[in-house]
Symmetry: C2
Subunit: 201 residues, 2 copies
């Protein structure tokens, strides 16, 4: 706001809401007003939910996931196969894979990708714990579900190297045509990969 | 999330964030993760700001604005001209006009527009208090800054009627070409109004 038209509490709320991804300065104002108008139905419950999150959310010391318990719900779930470990860059990737509900495996969250120019080496990532988990002998397959970017693939190569001494199968996600995708809109690299990895019909 | 992958506190936070205007289910997940990662810089301050808002925000009994004091900062500002009253539908309109910084007036927030089909009559709006403020004699001009919609204009006509017995000038916002707007994209009604209200160059 160009000049002060409301108490500092409201202006601070707008400033903080503007930092939430998906909201900008304009939508933060709209969101603040909406919250204020829905005080009982939304503002108070959201304030409580955020306070609970401040209080209870922690990083899982086993896999690097975030949850309200440590170890997290996934690490302690007895129905999950401890022999399969899916390695992801970020918790958001873990959530995305869980939404697909394709595997009943456990996870390991790296917390980023190798990026020497940004000063991110193996020590800055959750790599040591990954090697320790594999070294414990329970894991039979490590699926490297990193992003198909240069940094992601560099990280995948590094991890393959680190895990080469152990009796563990290291796999990666298939490249190919996205389900529902049109060939005309796909890049050459994806099409070449999809042709190369063609399967029997 | 299709199946539970995190504690109920995190899922509740995502569900509540998804109700904030500007965020949907997908961006709520992204926002929740971002907040959790920036626990000290963003999550904790935002939780505090929302708790403060729950605690302190109230509706101004004079004008209907929302603020942390009652009467609000605008109603108690001695530098504002008490003779000019800008009538708006909603607090968001008040904030928009304040950003324009064009007038140093006071406000009156109706809280909506007349809409008989939705059961919104004068009693559901902040009309009685407006008439009382004008009747007190301090106000010399009432600017009806309602939206240029059918409901807004209906409300403006009703208010003009209600205020006709008092010695007060009732004005409305000018219609015309928006600053920076291109004629080609404007509707006929706006162009006709802009021509009719043309001014000397």
């Amino acid at each position: 706001m160009s000049k002060r038209i409301a108490g500092p509490e409201i202006e601070r709320l707008i400033q903080l809401l503007a930092k939430v991804p998906g909201l900008g300065p304009r939508s933060a104002r709209r969101a603040a007003l909406h919250l204020i108008k829905k005080k009982e139905q939304l503002l108070a419950p959201l304030a409580d939910a955020l306070a609970q999150a401040v209080d209870k959310v922690r990083v899982c010391s086993t896999c690097g996931n975030v949850d309200t318990t440590d170890p997290c719900m996934i690490c302690t779930d007895p129905r999950r196969d401890p022999a399969t470990l899916i390695v992801v860059e970020d918790v958001s990737d873990l959530w995305a894979l869980e939404r697909a509900s394709a595997m009943n495996a456990r996870y390991h969250v790296l917390g980023g990708t190798l990026s020497p120019l940004d000063g991110i080496g193996p020590e800055q990532l959750n790599v040591r714990a990954l090697v320790d988990r594999v070294a414990s002998g329970e894991v039979k397959e490590v699926i490297l579900a990193v992003n198909a970017t240069v940094e992601g693939q560099t990280t995948a190569h590094y991890l393959t190297d680190q895990l080469s001494d152990f009796d563990v199968k290291v796999t990666r996600l298939a490249h190919g045509v996205p389900v529902g995708g049109e060939l005309d809109y796909l890049d050459e690299g994806t099409l070449a990969a999809a042709l190369k990895s063609r399967t029997a019909f």
